[in-house]
Every structure is written in C-alpha cells, then in structure tokens.
C-alpha cells in the first residue's frame, strides 16, 4: 500500500492544510507528496522536509501556475496508478480537484473523511454533521478528501525526502486564471487558529466587527463570521464558518450575536470550548455552548476586551 498526497501551495511555500493530509495519508502507508506548480521548486524543497513524506513528486510547468483542475486532474490520473490511495485536504482547492480526477479514473471518491478506520473504510459527516457515516469502498484506488481539523498537522521539519521530477501533462486549454481577491491579515488563519471569535447578524454592521477584532488582538485569535453576516456584507466570504464555509475546531470558539443555525453549528461544533454571547436567551447556540452569556454584545464585548486587559 502506498499513498499519493496532493500538496496545496503558492509555489513558494506549502500551505498548512497539506500537513493534515500528510498525517492522514501516513495512517495508510508510505506517503509520496505531489507538488505541481509553476516555478515551485521552493515549495517542493519545503515539502521534502515534512516529517512522514517519503518522496516529493515535482511537476513544474506553466499550466500548473494557478491550480486549475482541468490541468491538474490529468496529471493526477497519470500518477495515480502506482498507489492504493490518493488524498488531498478538503479545502476549496482539494474539493475542486479530486472529483475531476476521480471521474477520469472511474472511481467514487469519499469526501471530507474525519477518521480512517481501515484501508477501505472511512468515517465522514453527513446531514451537516448530524450523522457520521462509516463507508466502505471496493474501488481499486481509494480517493479521499480529508477534513483538516480531524487530523493533526505533521511536523514541518524533520523529513528529508528525495525530490523526483515528473513530466507535466500539458495544458487542457479549457480554462485560464484571470485574477484573485484575497484578504491579507496578520491574524492566524481561520481554519487552523487556536482561538476564533465570530460575529453574526447581531453585529448589525460591518464597522462593528472592530469590537471583535480588538478581542481577537488580545487573544491572538482569528475572526470568523456566520453566513448571515457574510450575506449582509459585514465580512467577505472567506470568513464564513459553517456547513458550506470553513469548518473549524479551535480550542476556543466565541460566537457573538450568532443564533446558532444548524448550518453554522456544522462548522464549529467540534470546537473544544464554545462560548456564546447573545441577548436572546432562547438562541439555539446556547444549547452547544459550554459557557453562555445572555447579554447585549455591544456592552459585553467591550467589557470582555477590558477584562482581558485587566489581568494582562
């Protein structure tokens, strides 16, 4: 048995989500890590240092510059034959890519795996995480996307894998990258932050998120948002926590002005400690909160900032 894991990177460095895929992959067998990009030798060299990676496969060609699925999927198909499993983290990159490769290989992939039971059986959430299904695959190669929060990050140092160049599979000529708009932040990345403070519809306006940011500053936290807050334009889409947004499992999740809809809970109910601040004591969020504070957030959040400063 051997596993092909697909790295997510920006050509210069490997993204943290890849480290979770390596851990999952290592549960199944020796791991080869594919780094496909344009001018991505630096990323490949970083990949070679990840603990648990046996070999790095480097595919460096202009058509891989932006992770286009139409170009990457055929590459994965040419490489997959030698492996028992192919894995990628269930980020938007992995979710976009792997099903395309799966269909080309005539395989039924398994999405969002949270536990590897055996070489052919895996646990995955269904119905917004209200059920956990154990599924068994008889396919000749198992293709999996794995939930990053379900697997520890492999250590980024300590490995010394060989880097082997593999031939590029060409440009499918079907798609091209135009541009991207990304938010830059000094804060930790939402998917992997140890503490997250999120705002919902109760925040009432985009400007009010500064109240949460001040608390986030003091806690070294990431800032998140509910779907309602994103739909209302309070925060851009990459802040959304939920069934179809980011799934997070921090040590501490503080939900501010968030009612606790099923779809939001799906994205944060695996947090170690959940705090809810909401002036509606009937809000469903209180049913999952370890600590609930029924209060007006416009009073409570500034008090929280002050309290954190008091014993600093």
């Amino acid at each position: 048995m051997s596993v092909l894991a697909i790295a997510e990177h920006d050509n210069a460095s490997i993204k943290p989500a890849t480290l979770n895929a390596v851990t999952a992959a290592a549960q199944l067998g020796p791991v080869d890590l594919l780094v496909a990009g344009a001018g991505c030798r630096a990323a490949a060299e970083q990949a070679a240092k990840i603990a648990g990676v046996a070999k790095v496969l480097l595919a460096d060609a202009p058509e891989y510059a932006h992770g286009l699925a139409e170009n990457l999927a055929p590459l994965v198909v040419t490489l997959a034959a030698g492996y028992s499993h192919v894995l990628v983290t269930a980020t938007t990159f992995g979710k976009n890519l792997l099903p395309r490769a799966a269909a080309l290989l005539d395989l039924q992939q398994i999405s969002d795996v949270v536990k590897i039971v055996s070489a052919d059986s895996f646990v995955r959430p269904i119905y917004a995480g209200n059920g956990l299904a154990t599924v068994q695959s008889a396919d000749r190669i198992k293709l999996l996307t794995v939930r990053s929060t379900a697997f520890e990050a492999a250590k980024a140092e300590g490995g010394s894998a060989a880097v082997e160049t593999v031939p590029a599979a060409g440009d499918a000529g079907l798609s091209r990258f135009v541009k991207q708009e990304v938010s830059k932040s000094e804060r930790p990345e939402l998917s992997s932050a140890r503490i997250v403070i999120s705002g919902g519809r109760g925040m009432q306006a985009a400007e009010n998120f500064h109240l949460l940011e001040e608390v986030a500053d003091r806690l070294g936290a990431a800032v998140g948002a509910s779907r309602a807050a994103v739909d209302a334009g309070f925060k851009p889409n990459e802040f959304q926590v939920g069934q179809t947004g980011k799934v997070v499992a921090p040590d501490l999740y503080i939900a501010v002005g968030i009612s606790g809809a099923i779809q939001h809970l799906a994205g944060m109910k695996d947090s170690k400690v959940i705090v809810a601040i909401n002036k509606d004591e009937e809000a469903p969020i209180f049913a999952v909160a370890d600590y609930g504070l029924v209060a007006d957030l416009f009073t409570a959040v500034p008090e929280l900032k002050a309290e954190l400063d008091r014993k600093a």
């Binding site: 976009n96 269909a103 269904i126 956990l132 994103v230 179809t244 370890d290 600590y291």
Partner: protein, 249 residues
C-alpha cells in the same frame, strides 16, 4: 443557448435530523423535503439568463424516486421549460449521477450546465466536477458570479483565500455557491402554468448507465454529544472560567 440544470430532493434545511437507533441511517419518516438550496440557486441563475435573453431553453433534471417530480415542478414553476426525471430506486452516488447527467447532456446538447455545489444531505460536493471531467468540459465551482458571452463564461469563485476569477471556454459546467443569487418564490400563476409543462421519464438502463453504488454504508452514528454548558452571569465570570476552569486562555 440551451441550459441544463439538475435538482435534488433533500431533507429541508430547517429540519434537525435524527439518526435511527439501529444505526442504519437517518430517520426520514414524515420529514419535510425540499429542493436542495444550492439547486434553487442554480435554477434561479438559469431563469435569470433566460430573462436576459442569453438562454433560450432551460431543461431541468432530477434523479431518483418518483417524488422527485415535485422538485422538478418547483423548478418549472420558477421558470424552467421542461423536465426530465431519471427514475430509479437505487441509491445514487455522485459518480453514477454524473454518468446519468452526461448521457442526458449528450442527448440534449446544452451549452451550459448549472448544478448546486453540494447536496445538503450527503454533503459530497463532487457531481459537477465529475460531470465536467466525463464531458471533457471546464468547471467553474463554488460560483458567486457568472458572466456569459458567446464562447466563454467568466466565473468568480468563492475560495478559502477569498475570490478567484477564471475564464472558461463554453460549453462548461458551473456549480453554485450561496451568494450567486437569491432564488425567487414561484408565484401562484406560475405554479399553475408549470402543471402543463412536460416532464419526461427515463430509466438508467435506457441511458446505458450502470448505477450500482461503489460505496457501502456500514453504519450511521450520532456525533459525540457535547456536555451541557452553563450560563455565566458576567464577563468577569466568563473570563475567570476560561482561564481557570477551561484553561483555554
């Protein structure tokens, strides 16, 4: 241009489902069913393209039990032109759905296929990507904006880092994300008109597709229950508990 949209009948998003005590699956008895929310967005986008004069005909497809006809009727009431039900009682997994849709695309020859990004029951998020692969078409997943021209479609996608814009050749497959549009409610006159729109029925065998499931569900369990929490009386109490009891800060 002709558009093809696929819709799935799923448990209504407001329903808190329960796992059956024998672990055989989710308890669906008497549960309210609705069109998958992402598929509503797909139908809405197709109807807007028709209203803008970009699309000439919208074919809506659903796959599964006869009750899926209700879901097709809803799409017809929103503005789709005709429906196709691929009727089967076999559990359809995404690869099989993609193959069935490919067979229909080969027959119907749409220029653009619009699907929801994921179904809120199985949460797979695969079908659109798989269909694009089988067709050899480009894919624009998690779309929050579409601009269609004669030979190309510009797709803005919601990705983990923010927004990404791609230009895809037509024909193409796109999958919808939440903010692509806000679906309309079908008006009563349109609901009545929809009763007269045709829905054809076809079986998987007639399309030459083997829909045998590849994955076997061994059991479905409830997620671990959280311990009941407490209400705190003040911010000071909250911070003290987070520091001393939970020890997370």
């Amino acid at each position: 241009m002709k558009l093809l949209v696929a819709v799935k009948r799923v448990v209504d998003f407001n329903v808190k489902v329960r796992v059956k005590s024998d672990q055989s699956g989710i308890d669906l008895a008497n549960v309210k069913m609705s069109m998958n929310p992402f598929d509503e967005i797909a139908v809405e986008e197709a109807v807007r393209l028709k209203e803008a004069g970009v699309a000439s005909e919208i074919v809506v497809v659903s796959l599964g039990l006869p009750q899926a006809q209700e879901t097709i009727r809803t799409a017809l009431a929103m503005g789709a032109d005709r429906g196709i039900l691929v009727e089967t009682s076999t559990e359809l997994q995404p690869l099989a759905v993609a193959k069935l849709l490919k067979a229909l695309v080969d027959k119907e020859q749409p220029r653009l296929v619009i699907l929801g990004k994921q179904a809120i029951d199985d949460d797979c998020n695969q079908t659109g990507q798989m269909l694009a692969a089988l067709l050899g078409w480009p894919q624009g997943t998690f779309a929050s904006k579409l601009t269609v021209s004669a030979d190309e479609i510009e797709v803005t996608r919601e990705v983990d880092a923010g927004l990404e814009t791609l230009m895809l050749k037509l024909p193409a497959v796109v999958t919808t994300d939440l903010r692509l549009n806000e679906p309309r409610y079908a008006s009563l006159p349109n609901i009545m008109k929809a009763k007269k729109k045709p829905i054809d029925q076809v079986k998987p065998e007639a399309l030459g597709v083997d829909v045998t499931p590849r994955l076997k569900t061994l059991r479905v369990e409830e997620p671990a229950k959280r311990q009941a929490g407490v209400k705190v009386g003040s911010v000071a109490e909250l911070v003290a508990k987070l520091r001393n009891e939970a020890k997370v800060i």
